[in-house]
Structures are given as structure tokens and as C-alpha cells.
Amino acid sequence: MNTSIRILDTALDPAALTETLLATGARDRGALVTFVGMVRDLIDDPVYALELEHYPGMTEKTLGDIVARVRSRWPLGDVLIAHRVGRLQPGDPIVFLGVTASHRIEAFNACQALMDYLKTEAPLWKKEVTPHGERWVEARDRDRVAAARWKTILEQQ
């Protein structure tokens, strides 16, 4: 029942992290759910690069708090979170989440909740480098709504 939180300033390798989660050999784990978030580059809104700034120390602490909250709700095996900082190119993985559990429902719910919490709570900020210059990404209401949904679900149970 390991928790691993990694802030990386070099390439994030989702396949290798998937391999890490499968290699633990814990035989009571029937399910693994992973999420990978990637830099998008749309034809009508091109992005040359993405710069990820974070608050060193608080990022790791916040992610640890989020994992503890999710573990208190669902019985989980291993949890691995890796997040890039620094300069990324379109297509590059930004974040990897991996959760193992005995059954799929817990792994799916925990992975989705982790991601919703991470988006709204972890002190990380994106700046896009575009043909029209640099712009800070705006926080989105739908991310706040997604994170708030889990609070409601957790309180109902």
C-alpha cells in the first residue's frame, strides 16, 4: 500500500510508470486505473509550448493530503502521482495518476477524484506559449464543479 508522489522537470513516461505499478506483485490487486493528461495543440488555437510553474514543497504536501483524503474514502492499493514542471511541448504528458485496488469501481472513483482535486488544489500553474505571445491559463469553473461533486458524494456516505 505504497504512495508515491513525483514532481518531474524531465520527461514523464506513462508506460514506465504503469510498469512500476504492475511490478509490485501485490496479488490482491485486481484493478489498475491510470490517467494521463497531455498538452493539447488545436489547429484553430495552436500552442508552441506549455510552461508549468509550481510551489515546491506545497505541491508535494497538497498531493499527499489529497491522496490521504481519497484513501480514507476507498480501500486502495498503491497510488502513484507524477506531475511535470518546466517547459513542455504539445503531446507531452503533463500528469500521470495510477491507482490499484481490489476492484475496478474503487480504482475508477479514486483516480477520477484524485484528478479533480489535483486540478483545483495543487499549486501548479500553466502558461501557454502561442503565436500571439504568452498567456496564463485561466482556472475553469467546470473543474471547481467536478471537485465539489466529490465533497457532496463523500458527505452523503
Binding site: E53, E121, A122, P123, L124, W125
Partner: protein, 82 residues
């Protein structure tokens, strides 16, 4: 003394990454922000935004939270990671 750190858009608009504020006794985060705003128009404007969040010792904090000498304070916009 208290160290105040700034991140992302706020860091850029203030042109300031870290600031050391004289502090002999505990004040609220709200009072601390008022002291920063008093540094001039750019500070007042940047800090007046409702989207400025704060952490004291790496815990999210609202204006009522007490800041002690030696604490680490950080001000930043809403998170956009992931």
C-alpha cells in the same frame, strides 16, 4: 520577519518572486495583504483581485488566519495544473 512568495500571473504582474516583510508580532493575513497593497498602485491592483489565493506555511488560508513572525506566506492565482 516573514517571507512572502508570489507565483504565476501574480509573480509576473508584481515583478516579484519573494519579499521579506518586517514583522514583530502576529497579524492577520488580511492585515499583511493591506501592508503589501500600501506599497503602491501595482500592488494594490494586483492584490485587489478576488482570485488571489493565499497559503500560510503551505496550508491554504483566508484573511482571518494569523501570520506569526517566521511564517512562510504565499500569494497566487487559482491552480491550473493537471
Amino acid at each position: 520577519m516573514v517571507e512572502v512568495r508570489f507565483f504565476a500571473r501574480l509573480r509576473e504582474s508584481l515583478g516579484c518572486t519573494r519579499l521579506a516583510l518586517e514583522l514583530d508580532e502576529a497579524i492577520t493575513l488580511g492585515q499583511l495583504k493591506a501592508r503589501l497593497a500600501a506599497r503602491g498602485a501595482p500592488w494594490q491592483q494586483a492584490l485587489a483581485q478576488c482570485a488571489v489565493l493565499a497559503a500560510v506555511n503551505q496550508e491554504m488560508a483566508d484573511d482571518s488566519v494569523l501570520v506569526q513572525p517566521g511564517d512562510e506566506v504565499a500569494l497566487f492565482p487559482p491552480a491550473t495544473g493537471g
